[in-house]
Subunit: 346 residues, 2 copies
């Protein structure tokens, strides 16, 4: 039915009355090549006329560049459903990558069953470089990649490796969040993690919480810790469980705004008020957070910036520019709104 046979560079060459080599030289604007201006125009005209677009596969095969960057997420698909952080990353990544004429391929890897599945993606040279968001301690593939010197940039960090990374300081940010609550007079502060502790960020944030309490001379209580799983549902469930336990707390640090959204609803449904009964501090500063009721006090993670820097860095690596700052750390200040009960000055 269709099949108007592909237009190849040979067709362009024939139309312009030159060789295929010349077509390639002209269209790729090769520097050293001496081509008469008149010929050049003739080739360009012929290419436009025929609607010639170079074949990506052929080009990738010979140039050994797929012109594709992979975004690897070690999650189950359903953990992506309500991920407000991911969309911010996409904003940043797509903007930068597009500008460089590259494409973004998104690969999701089930952390339980096939942690290392993305290695095949790389071996097949489907992608030129990887941005990995949310590294996990148990990701052995990442260590393998380090040996192979494959271009990788982490959005997050993985101890014991020397991968390029762009991140915030999760531990310090959490400390600041919790210290803010301590400063408001709270002594019993619960915590709900953003994800399970295989994720380095989740562990770091929990440690930050613990450090803040210890520094204030308070003892840790496992009963005050709940576990989230990226989603509002998990926050709802975790908060419900905390409220059902035999512990009292007047504040909670929730290491993800998405999770905090559910937790806040749970508090509300139990007839309690934020911040009067329970003060809340979140983490991420998603676009939605300022529209919550009350607006959520949270750690402001510059997600779009992180993604921009990570992709910019990766693109430089692909161009062969080495020896950059290996670990970029962006600022993540506390954004005080109303959920923590602090008096806003202005």
């Amino acid at each position: 039915m269709m099949n108007a046979r592909r237009v190849t560079s040979q067709d362009v060459a024939d139309a312009a009355g030159v060789s295929r080599t010349t077509v390639s030289l002209v269209l790729n604007k090769v520097q050293g090549a001496k081509i008469r201006e008149e010929t050049r125009q003739r080739v360009i005209a012929a290419a436009r006329e025929l609607g010639y677009v170079p074949d990506a596969a052929a080009r990738a095969l010979v140039s050994r560049r797929a012109q594709i960057i992979g975004l690897v997420l070690t999650r189950r698909p359903d953990q992506v459903t309500s991920d407000g952080f991911l969309t911010q990353l996409l904003d940043g990544l797509l903007g930068v990558i597009k500008q460089s004429g590259l494409r973004l391929l998104i690969e999701i890897v089930d952390p339980e069953h096939q942690k290392e599945a993305y290695l095949e993606l790389i071996r097949a040279k489907h992608i030129d470089g990887v941005i990995l968001s949310g590294p996990r301690y148990d990701d052995d593939a990442l260590r393998t990649l380090e040996e192979e010197a494959f271009p990788v940039v982490l959005l997050g960090q993985l101890p014991d490796t020397n991968h390029y990374s762009v991140d915030i300081n999760n531990r310090v940010a959490s400390r600041i969040a919790v210290e803010h609550l301590l400063g408001l007079g709270h002594k019993e502060i619960a915590c709900i993690t953003n994800a399970d502790l295989s994720y380095t960020a989740a562990t770091e944030r929990l440690i930050g919480y613990q450090e803040a309490l210890e520094a204030a001379g308070l003892s840790l209580n496992d009963e005050l810790v709940g576990y989230g799983d990226f989603s509002p549902e998990s926050g709802y469930a975790a908060m419900m469980e905390l409220l059902g336990r035999d512990v009292r707390f007047t504040a909670a640090f929730i290491a993800s705004d998405e999770v905090a959204l559910g937790a806040q609803a749970a508090i509300r449904e139990c007839g309690l008020r934020v911040p009067d009964d329970i003060a809340l501090v979140g983490f991420d500063d998603l676009p939605l957070s300022r529209y919550m009721d009350p607006p959520l006090t949270t750690i402001s993670v510059p997600a779009v910036q992180l993604a921009r820097q990570a992709s910019t860095l990766l693109i430089k690596l692909l161009k062969g520019e080495k020896f950059y700052e290996r670990h970029v750390v962006l600022k993540s200040p506390l954004h005080v709104r109303e959920s923590c009960g602090a008096k806003l000055s202005n």
Copy 2:
């Protein structure tokens, strides 16, 4: 430093003491091929031993299949930042696509400057098929693709074309949403669109709103219509503007939950209450909507299902199975919560 030279099928052939053809036949499990079991095992062992992974580009070149599906979004990157619908799509798409051994490439196209940029993606055979989310009336590239019989599945609909599509009935859903408000006694109902009217879904939803009013014998008032732009910010701004105008309304239909989130905050900041002063009905039923305060009454769009069906359909098209139902329409019932002020029976 690195460069352990790629392992090719020739290397496997040498190691196994057979020809490259045999390697190909074995590893691709070609049906008609007669291969002795012992040889087969030898090849498989050699391949595993050497860590052989076929080169994606070479394979794509010869097989004319990139094994990649493109997800095209006609938006600016910053319009993706807080798109809770997109993450649901990714959930559905990634699940299905992964299972079929394909990959997902995500392409974002600025609707103002380069509407048709994704045509190049297709011409270059970078992708085998396209899922296009949120078609626009002014998308001429889509009409071109129809002539070329390139595999396309729309998440949404585009009049005057016969592309495969998976969608809900936006117009009817909106009518139902607005009729619900009418049934609660509201006579002055505002509307905020989910996006500008170039998007077919935005227009359809607005028409549904208008049809409901007209069917109830009410007159339309342009002053009661505001325009959103995917984001909570836009909903906040639009609602603020509506509240500042010289019109009264006791309810609002907001054609996107994401936008409704901002609108609800605006209402709150003006000292008004939902649903007592202004009843609210949204559209999408994002995961976050049930956690809003009050929980949002909204049209329940089965986003994950839409994505699953769209990708399943596209994959079938790629396999050459034609003649399927061209336009799949899924149900999108009203999900009554509290923001509309209806008494909940249960």
